[in-house]
Structure formats: structure tokens, C-alpha cells
């Protein structure tokens, strides 16, 4: 195991330990009567924005699909794949926005958007890294 792997493993361990400590602190803070009930977290801001825009769910899942695509060679040139993804992004984001304006609540389940985003990343803009 080289120094990079040890360094990366240390970072991962740091994140996991910090997560446990912070979750424990959070449980204690939330039980206090003086805990600010109106406050929300940054990740909640992202999630709540889902009602208005599907952009974050779509964009992150497309990126994850791009990085971890099972396809070993691109199916199309980048100047074909990227415009398709941009067009799909516009369609998904605008459709969700107009549905939100019509019904005032999220209509498309987020997991559907995530699944479509992953599939789009896999198919249209796979990274195909040289390892």
C-alpha cells in the first residue's frame, strides 16, 4: 500500500469519525428546549429546492453516472453527447418547474430524476478513464 492510499484512507476515516461525533452532538443539541426549531440545514435547502427545481438531483446524478459508467468506450463523440445532456437538463428542469407552478408540490419523485440522471451520464457522457 503506497503513501497515497494511506493518506486517502486517513481522510476517509477522519470523515467517518467526524460524522459520528457530529451526529452525536446534533442529537444532544436537538433535544434542548432552546434548540432553534425554525432553522434548517444546508442539505435541507437543497432538498427543499427540489419542489421548485430538479437541477441539483439531476446534475449530481449525471455527474456520478459520468464518472462511474460501465461503458468502456464512448458510444458517441463528445460534441454529440454533451448537447444531448444539456437539452435533457433543460427539459427536466423546465418540466419540473412548470409542474411545480401548476400543483405547488413536487410531482416527479426524486428517485426517478436520479435514475434518469445516472442513466444519462452512463450513456451520453461516460468518462471511460484510463487506469
Amino acid at each position: 500500500m503506497d503513501i497515497v492510499a494511506i493518506f486517502a484512507a486517513s481522510l476517509i476515516g477522519l470523515v467517518v469519525v467526524s460524522d459520528i461525533v457530529l451526529a452525536a452532538v446534533s442529537s444532544w443539541r436537538d433535544r434542548r428546549p432552546s434548540a432553534p426549531q425554525e432553522a434548517i440545514t444546508w442539505s435541507q435547502l437543497i432538498r427543499e429546492s427540489y419542489g421548485i427545481t430538479t437541477f441539483f438531483a439531476w446534475a449530481i446524478s449525471v455527474w456520478v453516472g459520468r464518472w462511474f459508467s460501465p461503458i468502456e468506450a464512448p458510444l458517441m463523440e463528445w460534441y454529440v453527447g454533451f448537447p444531448i445532456v444539456v437539452a435533457l437538463t433543460l427539459v427536466v428542469v423546465l418540466a419540473a418547474f412548470f409542474l411545480w407552478r401548476r400543483y405547488r408540490r413536487p410531482i416527479i419523485p426524486p428517485i426517478v430524476i436520479v435514475s434518469l440522471g445516472l442513466a444519462s451520464g452512463w450513456i451520453f457522457i461516460p468518462l471511460c478513464p484510463v487506469l
Binding site: M1, D2, V4, A5, F7, A8, A9, L11, I12, L14, V15, V16, S18, D19, I20, A23, A24, V25, S26, S27, R29, D30, P36, A39, I40, T41, W42, S43, Q44, L45, I46, R47, E48, Y50, G51, A57, I60, S61, V64, G65, W67, F68, S69, P70, I71, E72, Y103, R105, P106, I107, P109, P110, I111, I113, V114, L118, L127, C128, P129, L131
Partner: protein, 171 residues
């Protein structure tokens, strides 16, 4: 190590920290992002402002390292990202954790899924187990096909959706 490796490592670790659910639960921010409440602290302000910046920065740096990086660190980093299985699994968990609800207004009953600490412990144990297995394989030079990282990301989404969902949704 060159400056690129130091910079990407720092941003990467900070960004994972800022994305971890426990951190978000601990440092609550105002509903009005740019107008802090009286109880807000400098730390909360920093987390609020830095989290989206770090998220963008880590994705950009990963993209650079995964696509164009030709330094020794970037090559090792690229191999580590795919061989360790941590990245695809953790990113999948993040997606499942955030965007799991089945329909508009669906609320999660937190009692069904345990308290946040239990969730964090289960999640940390699983992620750590995956990371350890991947790191050991990486250290031994085991070659892992690309589709394994795809499978791990999908498993991560399902895991985040079913085992580690967010506590409360608007409805």
C-alpha cells in the same frame, strides 16, 4: 507531493466533511441564507457559504484529476477513486440519502428508521467496511472492472434510500 495534490486533498476532505449528514445536522443555518439569525455564529456562516463552494470545487477538481491529471498523484488518485469503491458507493449513498422520497409531500417517520446517531453509526460502518475492502484490494493491486464502480454506486443509492434517508421532508 505537489501543490495540486495538496490542494485537491484539502478541498476533497473538507468537501466530504461539509457534505456529511452529521455536519449538516449540527450546524444549522437560517432559512434565509444570506441573513443570519441572532444565534448564528461565524462557524455557521462559514459552513453555509463554504458548503456549495466546496461541493463545486470538489467536483471540478475530481473532474480534472479523473480526466486531465497527468501528475503521479492524479494517476494514483484516479486509480484509487475506482479501485477503492468508496467514491461510487459514498456518492450513491448521498444521492439516495437526499433524493429518496417516493412522491410529493411524502414524509419519513423517523421512528421507523432509528435515531440520527443510529443511522450515522450504521451508515459509517457500512461505508467504512466498503472503503476498507476497497483499500486493501487497491493496496494489493487488484484490478477491478469499471462496471463494479457502477454497481457500487447503484447499491449506494438503494442503501441511502432505504437505510439512511433524511429525517424530515417538507410536505
Amino acid at each position: 507531493m505537489d501543490i495540486y495534490s495538496v490542494m485537491s486533498s484539502i478541498v476533497d476532505s473538507l468537501s466530504w466533511l461539509s457534505l456529511s449528514p452529521g455536519l449538516f445536522q449540527s450546524f444549522k443555518v437560517s432559512k434565509r441564507p444570506l441573513k443570519m439569525t441572532r444565534k448564528s455564529t461565524v462557524l455557521r456562516r462559514c459552513v453555509l457559504i463554504s458548503a456549495p463552494i466546496l461541493l463545486t470545487a470538489t467536483f471540478a477538481l475530481n473532474e480534472v484529476a479523473l480526466v486531465w491529471g497527468d501528475t503521479e498523484f492524479a494517476v494514483s488518485y484516479r486509480r484509487f477513486v475506482y479501485a477503492s469503491l468508496f467514491y461510487p458507493f459514498a456518492l450513491g449513498v448521498l444521492l439516495g440519502h437526499w433524493f429518496h422520497m417516493l412522491g410529493g409531500g411524502f414524509r419519513i417517520d423517523r421512528r421507523r428508521f432509528g435515531k440520527p446517531l443510529v443511522q450515522a453509526l450504521i451508515g459509517a460502518f457500512i461505508i467504512l467496511s466498503v472503503a476498507v475492502v476497497g483499500i486493501v484490494s487497491f493496496g494489493r493491486g487488484v484490478s477491478i472492472p469499471l462496471y463494479v464502480s457502477t454497481v457500487m454506486s447503484v447499491i449506494g443509492v438503494v442503501f441511502g434510500m432505504l437505510v439512511w434517508p433524511v429525517r424530515v421532508y417538507h410536505g
